[in-house]
């Protein structure tokens, strides 16, 4: 249960940053996927 004031400007700012970081999460996973695929293909050679 939350009983503290979450603010308004600070909350909106946190939401915006969270959206950006959420996108960065997928970007990071994509980079990992490429890196793993590259490593796998090198191992096959």
């Amino acid at each position: 249960m939350l009983y503290t004031d979450p603010g308004s400007g600070a909350l909106i700012w946190q939401l915006l940053v969270a959206t950006g970081i959420g996108a960065a999460y997928y970007f990071r996973r994509l980079l990992f996927w490429f890196a793993r695929n590259k490593k796998d293909s090198q191992n096959h050679l």
Partner: protein
């Protein structure tokens, strides 16, 4: 009859009361399952072991119902380990608020792996044992929605920790002063008005103050912004939240106190009123008196940077050191941390001590009420002239205060009105203090105390008196 005092009543998850020397928390039946999980938490156990969280035990039902006969059916009563001397953010130097903020972030990050979080982030959740912060509000910990990437206590952390530290660092506004005027911290809009345009665009001001101010709706915000935001992937929510904590930690380090300097900062190490020999003689005498008296709890009033608090720590289990100047108290806090001294340094002007505040003036107890009778020795060194002249407190009143604070002993430095510092403070008001001399000093203290010894500081107009309470 044992006094029952409410300590925390705003959190609906449980209220805390002090009964005599015991700190008890009543948790309603609906919070029982969360409480059981908390008491088993390995993260909290680690913090308790490190002395950074107060330990708790559940009272047996018969003992609980004997203490709270009207408690709700199924309520649990917890007893917390007591922190000896309670202090509030309005008495802390910036260094202590920084430690409290660091502990809050450590705890928040540690709990993340357990699927828990802090529902609030206020410095009132933290007390100090010496200079070590102790998290005392176990019910701030709650299970978190694994899909939620938002920390709702973010704004409170910014208001009550980062912005007071930011103003202390950038504008030299003491943290204690900020909390005296704003017990719930500063809104970004308040800080925005205090900052110049170039500062508003600097880091971390831009993200802590300027953008939240610009983004805040002019009118009441739409309720939808407060609706829980859920991400489909819990890993993504966790990743986002972890980034939020890391970003807050970076901002906290950007507003880290730098150790400010005031007119009183060099007073203890290079005092204008003593030669090196006189200073050494005074220190030896205080050391000797404390070794003889063997006090356990010492209050050092007007501690400055803590030269005598450090001596006091050699003889007593607990020292509380107070001074009205936040720069010198901050320096003492750093010294205490560096040398692991058991000293609690607080920004308190004894001529205007912290008043009782909060709901019905009972939530936060006044400094004098907390200190009364809690010490068996009071140190008042190089202070009496400041109280007499600068604060215009009559000598008899000073004696009454010392009598209230100590249960046994007082070590007081007598400063003659012909002393160089006394004269400097007088500034032409000599007529106000014509009646103050050695006889007046001795007879005022003599009414309440028995004189044990007098040590004349060689070549000065000062003397160290040891008084024992009648």
């Amino acid at each position: 009859m044992i006094a029952v005092s409410p300590i925390s009543l705003r959190d609906p998850a449980g209220r805390v009361v002090r009964i005599g020397d015991r700190i008890l928390r009543v948790v309603p039946a609906k919070g029982a399952s969360n409480l059981e999980a908390l008491l088993r938490s390995s993260t909290l156990g680690r913090f308790v072991e490190a002395g950074q969280m107060c330990s708790s035990r559940v009272l047996p039902p018969d003992e609980a119902s004997a203490i709270f006969p009207n408690a709700e059916q199924g309520a649990t009563v917890l007893e917390h380990d007591r922190v000896e001397f309670v202090s509030y953010p309005s008495e802390w130097p910036a260094e202590m608020l920084f430690s409290a903020a660091e502990l809050t972030l450590d705890l928040s990050e540690g709990l993340l792996d357990e699927g828990r979080g802090l529902k609030d982030a206020t410095p009132y959740n933290v007390l100090f044992r010496g200079t070590v912060p102790v998290f005392v509000d176990v019910l701030s910990v709650e299970p978190r929605d694994a899909h939620d990437p938002i920390w709702l206590a973010y704004a409170q952390f910014v208001r009550t920790m980062l912005l007071p530290l930011l103003l202390s660092r950038r504008l030299r506004v003491p943290v204690a002063q900020t909390f005296c005027a704003n017990p719930e911290g500063l809104e970004p809009e308040q800080a925005y008005r205090m900052l110049s345009w170039p500062l508003r665009l600097c880091a971390p001001e831009l993200s802590l103050v300027t953008l939240p101010t610009w983004l805040a709706p002019r009118h009441a915000p739409h309720a939808s912004i407060y609706a829980p935001k859920r991400m489909s992937d819990p890993d993504r929510a966790n990743f986002t939240l972890r980034h939020t904590f890391r970003a807050l930690r970076r901002k906290l380090h950007a507003v880290r106190p730098m150790g400010s300097v005031s007119a009183w900062s060099g007073y203890a190490t290079q005092p204008p009123s003593y030669t090196e020999e006189q200073q050494r003689a005074k220190q030896c005498e205080v050391d000797r008196l404390l070794a003889l008296a063997k006090p356990t709890r010492i209050l050092d009033i007007g501690c400055n940077t803590g030269v005598y608090s450090e001596i006091a720590c050699r003889h007593a289990a607990r020292v509380v050191a107070i001074d009205g100047d936040c720069a010198v108290v901050g320096a003492l806090c750093e010294l205490g941390r560096r040398k692991a001294l058991n000293v609690l340094p607080l920004v308190v002007d004894i001529a205007r001590p912290t008043p009782a505040t909060g709901w019905r003036n009972r939530e936060h107890v006044s400094f004098l009420e907390r200190a009364r009778g809690q010490f068996d020795c009071v140190l008042m060194l190089a202070l009496i002239h400041h109280l007499l002249v600068t604060s215009r407190i009559p000598l008899d009143e000073i004696v009454e205060l010392v009598t209230e604070l100590t249960t046994a002993m007082a070590i007081v430095e007598y400063i003659d009105r012909n002393d160089q510092m006394f004269r400097a403070l007088l500034r032409g008001r000599e007529a106000l203090h014509v009646g103050y001399d050695r006889n007046a000093f001795e007879s005022a203290f003599g009414r309440r105390f028995v004189r044990e010894s007098v040590f004349e500081i060689p070549g000065s107009k000062r003397a160290i008196y040891a008084w024992r309470k009648r």
